[in-house]
Subunit: 158 residues, 2 copies
Amino acid sequence: MSDIDGGMDETPEEGLPEVAAELNELATGLVRHLLSDRQGMSLNTVAALGRLEREGPIRLTALAAAEGIAQPSMTALVQRLERQGLASRSADPADGRVCLVAITGAGRELLAERHRAQRARVAGLLAALPEQDVQALSEAMDTALPIVRRMLRGESAS
Amino acid sequence: MSDIDGGMDETPEEGLPEVAAELNELATGLVRHLLSDRQGMSLNTVAALGRLEREGPIRLTALAAAEGIAQPSMTALVQRLERQGLASRSADPADGRVCLVAITGAGRELLAERHRAQRARVAGLLAALPEQDVQALSEAMDTALPIVRRMLRGESAS
DNA sequence: CCCATCTATATCACCCAGCTATATAGACAG
DNA sequence: CTGTCTATATAGCTGGGTGATATAGATGGG
């Protein structure tokens, strides 16, 4: 059913757009469902908090640049996070202008809870599938996820 | 405490929560990249336009309900679409109160262009991978995508 | 037939969250 | 010390969401 490699020579120019379209559809379709249960937190908010968790304290402007939003927007976002007790701000002893942003314990807990809820949501969808489908998906993800991780990391590093 | 299938301790399935977590990470990671290039259109706008394309003319309130936003928000959204020439509104001959919303040719073109751009974006990421990775991803998607389509369709049908 | 009520959409007032432009405070070179 | 550069904050604007409510058309009982 795939026109990608029927014993012919490797033709990456043919298959690449199709793989892209498939990845695109899969990601978009899934996320549409996950998004329907964002509990009062915008995408940018969650993304920023996630970055704080992964990368530790970071300058406000660096965080804004990393998340692709303007610095004033990040100032406001961090102020909201601070008001909710999810992030904290501290001065850089080496540079008085700098505002170092960090995640709090409550922030970590909230992220963990969100991840739990999302996984449960997807697990609920999976539960309706025959077991062989789940098995097949599991193997497909074992293949795809490391590659996608590498792909995205390569992009964000540049 | 969050174990879904209590009782069986050894391979009931390959771990529903784990597959869920993998799907989640893949979708979220990819979409983060796609989102960074939304050209002045919000998620809801694109989603509503996409539904108009897939399902044809539809009542304003039905569209709002389907997209999970309030009716006044959909009124405003459709007015924006109309101003941009992407959607049109017509009266229902059978019920004078009803406003039937439909996508226009320009709307279809814009959606198609967006899909092209997204696919190109993912294809750009894929191009940096060794060919064997692309091949592996292609096979994984051939497996996963039909299953995920079925999974999401089952949910939205209910 | 008319009136009460229900329904589909529009309007209003408000809030959140993004943007650009600009102000302020600290760093640092001359 | 002063001019300039940089990191953050503030101000004003816009888009896009909400609930409450107004309005026009549909509908059914007396």
